[in-house]
Each structure stands twice: as C-alpha cells, then as structure tokens.
Amino acid sequence: MRSILTALAATTALAGAAHADAHAPALSGTLRIVSDMSNPAPRAVMEELASGFDEMHPDLTVELEVVDREAWKTQIRNTLSANPPDVVNWYAANRMGPYVEAGLFADVSDLWQEEELQDLQAVKGAMTIDDKQWGVPYTYYQWGIYYREDIFDELGLEEPATFEEEKANCQKILDAGKKCYAIGTKFLWTAGGWFDYLNMRTNGFDYHMRLANGEIPWTDEGVAQTFANWRELIDMGAFIDDHQSYSWQEALKFFTDGEATAYLIGNFAVAPMRDAGLTDEQIDFYQFPAINPDVEMGEDAPTDTFHIAAGAQNMDAAKAFLKYVVSPDVQTDINSGEKLGQLPVNAKSSVDADEFLEQGFEMLQNNATGGVAQFFDRDFPAEMASVGMEGLQEFMVFPDNLEDIIARLEEARQRIYE
C-alpha cells in the first residue's frame, strides 16, 4: 500500500515539474505579494491570481496580503523600505516616480524585452521613467461622459460631438429643471478629470503633458482659455450645487435620481450605477466632445499596475508572476464583466461583451489619436497634483478667484519643478 502511494506521489510531482518546466525554470521558495485590490470583486480576482500561480509552481508558496486600497496609499512607503515583499500594486506614470527615484522599485526593463510583453506596447510609455520600465499594467479603464439615456430621449437630445452641442444640450437640460453634471469634489480628484478633458480638448494632449511636466507656466494663454471654457459651464449652473461637500459616490445619487443627467467619470462608476437600479437602457456613454477642432482627441485611461520591490527576495518568481498577470488569457479573464469589469492591457486579449467596455475599448483604440493620459493626479507630480486639485475645486465654487488660484499654482510650479 505504502509503495503505491509513494509511486503516485512521485509521478504527480514529476508531472507537476514537467508542467512547470514547459513554461519557465522551476520556481521555488516563497513569493510575497502585497495587494491593494481590497474591494470585494478585485479581491476575489487577486486571490484567484495568487492561487492560480501557486498551483502552476508546486515548489513555490505564494503568500498574499490584501491591504485596504486607501490605506495602501500611505502604507506603501513603510512596506517598501522596512520589509519589502516581492510584488506590490501601485499606479503608473508620475505616481510611481518617488519610488523609482528612491530606488524602491526594481527595474524590469529586461522583462519588457521579452516576447510575451510585446503586446503591451500601447501602455509602455506610462511605465517608463528614464527610458527604463518599472512595472507592468494589469488593467485600465476609460473615462468619459456617462449620461441618462432615458432623460436625453425624453428631452429629445442627441449625444453631442462638439462643445457647442454640449452647451446647447446642457441649456435644454437646465431649462427642464435639472442639472447637467453630477460631480462630488470633496476629495478633489474628480475636479482633476474635468480639467484634464477641457485642457486636452482646448490645447491638445501634448500641451497637457507639457503642463504636467512643468514646461508650460500656469499663466499661459492656453490655460486661461481652458478655464474660460470651463467657466462657461459653471456660469450656466451646469454642475450640481454644493459639490464640494460630496464624495463621488454621494454625488452619484443626483445621477441615479435623475436630478443631474450626466457624469464625467471613469468606467468604475458603472457598477454602482447598476447597483442603484439603473438598467443599461437608462445609461449610456459618449466621448468628451471636441472643443478645438484643430487638436486631436486625447483621453484619460488610468492604468493600475504591479511592481517588483527593489528589495524583493524572490526576483525570479516575481518576474514570472508579472509575466503571468499580463498574459492574454489571464488578462481576458480578470478584466471580464463579472470580475474587474475593465479593459485588458494585452492587445491579444479580448474585451468582455459589455456595452461600456466595448464602447470604451473602441474609443481608446480608434478615437484617442491625440494620446492616452493617466489622470491629473498621476500625470502631475504628487505635490503639484495636490495643490492643483485644491485650486480646481476652489475655481468650481468661486470662479472669480481664478487670478489668485493661477498665481498660487504658478508659484507652486516654479518651486516644484526647479
């Protein structure tokens, strides 16, 4: 009896090793992952990823620790410098800058040379600092204007393609006793989304990026034009009142109640809209309309990422995990509607059959010819982003303070990018 068991165990172990060999050199030891995917659906995805990877490598133990997403934003510093795990979650672009500069993220440029990652070239730029890559993306999502299709039908409105049409629509909505846009700016970043779009549509994607890099002063004529366009909407009364007291979730109620007809937000808002009882017939999505016909459309599509800590103990396993996460099948699976409900980053993956994911994918593939930005708080350096978003919030409530706000932002720019 004993001999049969040993034989069985031996063959299974062999089969397992052969299986692992087919993919990569056998990995052993422990792989420690700290993840901020703490909401229920992302958490399940992360747990599945960890256990899936664990099963593929019989000699490897995957230890997963899930941290609250908001708390992680301040915890990551201690985690990386005190007791670094192998793999962590973070965000692309400037948001990873401080960790790259402090030498806390490992350079993974060699990974990007490999064949498996050639289908991720679209997002390579967002992962690049100093011509090196510092992580891999696992998901992204489009931003755009989500609107109440039923109310638009009721008022006889069409999806606008230009800013003139947008304003004309808005006037009709206001005449009907509703507000055009729901927004909650208590935590500031939502105002950054509006600035991103207005600036990209007024001055173009490249201009926006140069502003983010500190190459253009805030006192520039182009910025003034962006604020002038924004002010037109504010003066119309297009935004809901008292938005400085609401979070984006609290402001969602205005949208679901039909008091406000549109919401400029990322695709993550669709799930709560559906949870609030809206059907897909009632909500729809359109690309932020063109303002300046001479500039190409740029879009916000924030990317969430995996990184390897510079102090990682198990570098081989960490790199293998990053490759696993971006592989086409895994990408298709974790981004599907019932899981993350976002867009896969691998060009070979398929997008889930969801109205919004399909529209968003189509928009980013074919209609974002200007370029794809991350988001205000990820493209601008941390300090500039926090000063900036506070100014944007103030502008939305007291547009008359613009001159003072601009002076403050310019003072900050000169100090921060020195």
Binding site: R77, L104, D377, A382, E394, V397
Partner: protein, 321 residues
C-alpha cells in the same frame, strides 16, 4: 535556668553571624520603583522623546521620507522654516484656525460647568440623565464627526430641515470656507463639554456641605453662592478642564480629517492636519517641511505646557507650606 527565652524578641540584625545581604537587598526601597518605571520610561523615550529630537533634525532637510535620511535627504538648513514663516498661506490659514480652535474650544468649560450644576441634584433617575449627557464623550471622535457631517449635509441634513421650519436656510456649513471651521469646532465642543461636565460633577461631590450651609446662614444665594463659595472649591476641576481642553484644541485632527478632509479649498486646515498632509498623506512627500510644521506646533504647545507645569508646581508648593 540556662534555656530561658528572652522576654523581648531580639530585633537587632545579626552581627557578622549570618550571610551578608546583597546590594539589591540593601537598596531595595530606592531601586524597586525605578525597576517598575523602567519599561514605561523606555517606551516614553523611544516613542515620544527621541522622535521629538528626530523631528528637529528632519526639519532641517529636504526629504521625501523614502530610504534613509542621510542618503536621500538633502540638508537645507533653516530653509523649511523660512518658507513656512515667510508667507506660506496654508500655514497662515492653519495657524489662525488653531487660534480659533483654542479660543472657541474653551467654551466647553462654562458649558460643562452649567450642565454639571444643572445635573447635580437628587432627583429620581438622575444617573440616567448624567449618563446621557456623558454619552458623547464615550463615542469615538470619528463617529461624532460623521454624525455631525450628516447633520450639516446641504440638502438632506437635519440642520437644514430644522432651519426650513423657520423658513431659513438652506446653508452648506461644511462647504462654505467661512463657516466650515466653526461647524467643526461646534461638533468638537459636543464631546468636550461632556468631558468638562464629568470633571465638574466629580468636583461638586467634593464641595464641603458645611461651607455651603454656613454661607446659606449668612444669606448667600444664587450667583453669589456660586461665585464666592462653590467656584473656589472647584478650582482643581477647572484647572484640569482647562488643561485637557487646551491640549485637545491644539491636537484637533480627527474631526477635520473626517468632516472636511481639510477642505473646502484647505480652509479648515489646522497645524496638525497640515503637517499630516505634507508629510504622510496620499500626496505628501515632504517629510522635512512636515517636520518643520510639527516643530512649530510643538513650540506652541510648549508655551501652554510650561505654564501648566509651573502652575501645578506652585500649587504643590503652596499646599506643602
């Protein structure tokens, strides 16, 4: 008659006979308290005293808090202080908000006294009322902050519902940069008043009934009785209420973080919150600047703490005479 026990037990230590007592045995009375204090002192030093000096040191650097200070930090001398005190508007806002907190938070003391006097009666079920009044202090500050932010909500909030009955409003207290700080202080006063009340209730228990009786025979009543007989006896309670309220006002952080997150447009920041924002929050990568703010706040607190310690010391001395 050789084996007669002495009539009085021998209490003298054996002379040279028994084993010599060890050093610890001989110094037991002097050493033992320090042994008990040692863990506490150690923790106090590691988590309170040393970090104070570390803050002094870090405040002289430009440092993002990542890696080691000596490697990734850049020594800038007093530059952080120069910028802080040389017209940083966020600092000015925070400083004046701190002053507002200090002054208005003291209202908790008379309010607490008033409620304590009101509740210091022998009526059936008075303990229930006392507990109800004390209740807000038991709640977590975060919960109080949340409840008040719902109370203040611009449309659905209870405050606006009440105002609507009188045909006034609506107001958005936490969304108005001129009102938000006062709104938060009002929320903070609620538990702080309860705290002062309980201090005064215990104080009132210690009021000498004979003195009150004597004063009554002399014809003292109402305000005169309160001012000349009761209040002087409540002096220790007033002192403690003063100390905890001042320190509470300077430390105010939780309410701001929960209710407005420093907004709208940074109008409700206080020094502790500004320090947190600069050094530790989501976009805060300026440990040096944050430490400079912490040092300034520490200096401010030191003024009050020195005064309190001096006051306590002179009270002790007066009592010993």
């Amino acid at each position: 008659m050789t084996n007669v026990a002495p009539a009085v037990p021998d209490r003298h230590p054996p002379l040279g006979g028994g084993p010599r007592r060890g050093w610890y045995r001989r110094n037991e009375i002097a050493v033992t308290p320090w042994l008990f204090l040692l863990p506490g002192l150690l923790f106090f030093a590691v988590y309170v005293i040393i970090p104070i000096f570390q803050s002094f040191q870090i405040s002289l650097y430009e440092w993002n808090g990542l890696g080691d200070l000596s490697e990734t930090g850049e020594y800038v001398g007093l530059a952080n202080y120069e910028r802080l005190l040389g017209g940083d508007r966020k600092f000015e806002t925070s400083f004046w908000n701190n002053v507002r907190w200090l002054v208005l938070y003291l209202l908790a003391i008379p309010a607490g006294l008033f409620i304590a006097l009101f509740l210091n009666q022998t009526v059936a079920g008075i303990r229930v009322y006392k507990s109800l009044f004390f209740f807000p202090f038991v709640l977590s500050q975060v919960v109080v902050g949340l409840v008040f932010s719902w109370f203040y909500l611009p449309r659905e909030g209870l405050l606006n519902a009440i105002l609507a009955v009188f045909g006034a409003g609506p107001v958005n207290i936490l969304g108005d940069p001129d009102l938000a700080t006062y709104g938060i202080i009002a929320a903070g006063l609620w538990p702080q008043t309860a705290y002062c009340m309980i201090l005064y209730l215990t104080g009132l228990n210690a009021v000498d009934p004979e003195q009150v009786e004597a004063a009554r025979l002399d014809g003292a009543k109402g305000w005169k009785m309160l001012w000349y007989v009761i209040l002087p006896q409540l002096r220790p309670a007033t002192f403690i209420a003063f100390v905890v309220t001042i320190i509470g006002a300077l430390r105010s952080f939780d309410f701001i973080a929960v209710m407005t997150n420093g907004g709208p447009f940074g109008s409700t920041r206080v020094l502790s919150f500004y320090m947190f924002e600069e050094a530790l929050s989501e976009f805060g990568f300026r440990m040096g600047y944050g430490s400079a703010i912490a040092v300034v706040l520490f200096m401010l607190m030191l003024v009050f703490i020195t005064y309190f310690l001096w006051q306590m010391w002179s009270d002790e001395r007066a009592a010993r005479r």
